[in-house]
Amino acid sequence: MKKSVFLGALTVAGLAAGAAAAGTLDDVKARGKLNCGVTTGLVGFAAPDANGVWQGFDVGVCRAVAAAVLGDANAVEFVPTTGKTRFTALASGEIDMLARNTTWTFSRDVDLKFEFVGINYYDGQGFMVPKSLGVSSAKELDGATVCIQTGTTTELNLADFFRKNNISYEPVPVETNAEGQQQYLAGACDTYTTDASGLAATRAAFENPGDHVILPEIVSKEPLGPLVRHGDNEWGDVVRWTLNALIAAEELGITSANVSEMSMAAGSSPEVNRLLGTEGNLGEMLGLSADWAKNAVMAGGNYGELFEKNIGENTPIGLARGLNAQWTDGGLLYSPPFR
């Protein structure tokens, strides 16, 4: 039996080798499903719920792309990846795109031969302290003991930050986030530092989250975004502009509630019309249907809706928009024009 599976696999392999030459977009359309790499579980960003349905902020991007390409937000095969397997999964073609809180860095973009298509979450290293410490800024942490994951870039960022501000600190090395959480709660350190979204998720799991505050200082840049393989620019464009469509939709006031109405007929705003396909032929240029952006927004809402539903201030994670606000609101989200 096992042998027949093996032979079968080899046969399929031979057939697939011929098909793989076509573009990813055609592959996805032919397959009728998008293979999207996500984490094996990160609070608020990607995790299956009690019914086994994937939920989360990164998951929302996958669903939007599936909706744009295939017209069905559920036509996604979520492939869970770890920090170690994510890049090989993408490079080997097991997944079509990776939406897994991956920091956009030079070497990943250039050396690993991937293409980051945009940024869906601006993260950065932050500090969490107990409220009782009475600290309101990281610059007041002179002489503090700091729980820090060893061997990470956060360790280096921390040293830089304290040196730059000419204050001292005592590191308490921890191995994992769970260990850091325990040490911090046990009072082994005054403050715990890691990515701000991770801090928020960690704090959300505390018995009394209100007793701890996340300080406003962000000491490093961690731009997280979806990525695709180098060399397939058509597919890269599809993912890039789907993400941009979600961001632009928020800016233009298109939500999952009013998108059907707005896409019925051309309205007064030319950019909305172009985005929703009632004017021009943007969809056709991408190789998609005219209502691609409408489908993407329908899948889970625009960028702001996705944010609020999964990691926003009304969820247990309670992240403020901060850098992830629209440029019109003082954030960094800035979609190139749909023209």
Binding site: M1, A13, G41, G44, A50, K84, E94, A204, I317
Partner: protein, 432 residues
């Protein structure tokens, strides 16, 4: 003679004193405690300290366990109800019960299928494990792997049927030719099996019905403790015969076979299991054409089996080495050929000696199946570390989940260990 002392001794007792009950300090509960717990001052001190620690442990854990909540919807709700009291939030187990056992993607209307496969596993294993049972039951054991595959994976019934036919064809050919020439029968059997499987590759798609009786479930949808059981059972049962073959091969006088076995064993033993799993998951993906998914569970089974069989081979080699040379020579002097000598004289004794070691490897292997969580398979530990702890409802529940995993693994491993002790007692033939 009887008068000799009649005058010098005033009284001679003529009947035995009726046996008196032992003193209270030497019998019953008190006697047992004096002997075992308070024999000396040092022992008494240790006993008191030990009792104190047990007390501490129980007062710490019992209220936590007994006061646990079983039917809330989230950790936050648990904490609200407990109001700072120290008690467990077992609700995560009840809410995610199915996910813990079957993974989060196995369709819930089909849970009965792996359930039946699990129950039948005991039926199938019984005649192998308890050799006093009627031998005819082995027929079911032979059918079981195909039946279980069909139940768990579903799909057309012809797949497992043709797989079984391949094995039958191989056996028939071996039976026909193996008597005269072992090698001819052996390789002929393999060729026959492959011919059947090759033909099945064309026949099955043609005759498979549109709607199979049992709907197919993909390998990547398997998860939970079911995945641990599948990997553990399959890999242990495959690695035992492979390990025996490797151990015998290593002792072979034919240099080619000997060196193949030595290199295989030494190479696999020198590599960590997690490396092999990464090879199975990641590196193979580079060699196969893009878009191919050569079943991940199958890849992992191959790797774990290779790993376990190398270890079992060394354990069995130890058993073989422990046999006196006279046993081998006795077999030769009876005129037995190699296969007969091994089957009738050497292996039964060597395997008996090796039982503790084999069980050790099996238990270790079963627990090692949790390593697959690192290559993104959602076994029991993978389910806990990934989806469950990452859900907004249950983020922060550690003790309850990992204790549950520990209990499941303890039950299984303790069962294996108890069986092996029974087997050792049952096989004892020496006079101790």
């Amino acid at each position: 003679m009887s008068d000799t002392h009649a005058h010098s001794v005033a009284f001679v007792r003529e009947t035995a004193i009726p046996p008196a009950p032992p003193p209270a300090t030497e019998a019953g509960v008190i006697g047992w405690m004096r002997q075992n717990l308070f024999a000396t001052w040092a022992n008494a001190l240790l006993t008191v300290v030990a009792i104190y620690f047990v007390y501490l442990l129980l007062t710490g854990t019992l209220p936590w366990i007994l006061g646990g909540l079983w039917n809330t919807d989230s950790l936050a709700e648990c904490r609200e109800i407990l109001q700072g009291k120290n008690a467990a939030c077992f609700s995560v187990l009840t809410e995610r019960w199915n996910q813990l056992l079957f993974g989060f993607k196995y369709p819930d209307e089909f849970y009965w299928r792996p359930g039946i496969a699990f129950i039948l596993l005991f039926l199938a294993a019984a005649p192998v494990l308890f050799f006093d049972l009627p031998r005819k039951l082995l027929l079911f054991t032979a059918i079981y792997p195909f039946l279980a595959f069909w139940l768990i994976w579903g799909g057309t019934v012809w797949n497992p049927v043709f797989a079984a036919l391949g094995f039958i064809a191989g056996y028939v050919v071996f039976d026909l030719y193996g008597k005269q020439n072992f090698a001819a029968g052996f390789f002929g059997g393999i060729v026959a099996a492959f011919v059947v499987w090759f033909l099945a590759g064309y026949i099955v798609p043609a005759i498979a019905p549109e709607q199979p009786v049992l709907e197919a479930v993909q390998s990547r949808d398997m998860g939970g403790f079911m995945l641990n059981m599948i990997l553990g059972v399959v890999c242990v049962s495959l690695s035992l015969p492979l390990g025996i073959a490797l151990a015998l091969g290593r002792q072979s006088s034919m240099p080619l076979i000997k060196w193949i076995c030595v290199v295989f064993i030494e190479f696999i033993r020198g590599v960590p299991l997690i490396t092999l799993l990464f090879v199975a998951n990641v590196v193979l993906a580079y060699f196969l054409p893009p878009g191919t998914t050569f079943d991940l569970i199958l890849r992992v089974i191959i790797m774990i089996t290779m790993f376990a069989s190398a270890y079992i081979a060394e354990v069995i080699r130890g058993g073989l080495a422990a046999l006196p040379k006279g046993q081998y020579e006795a077999a030769d002097s009876l005129g037995l050929d190699y296969a007969q000598a091994m089957r009738l004289i050497v292996l039964p004794q060597a395997l008996k000696i090796s039982i503790p070691g084999i069980v050790n490897v099996s238990v270790g292997l079963f627990k090692d199946t949790t390593l697959v969580s690192i290559i993104t398979m959602f076994d029991l530990v993978g389910m806990i570390r990934g989806p469950i702890l990452a859900s907004t409802e249950w983020n922060g529940v550690y003790w309850e989940l990992f204790s549950f995993a520990a209990v499941l693994f303890f039950i299984t491993c303790y069962g294996i260990s108890q069986y092996s002790q029974w087997l050792e007692r049952r096989l004892t033939t020496d006079h101790r």
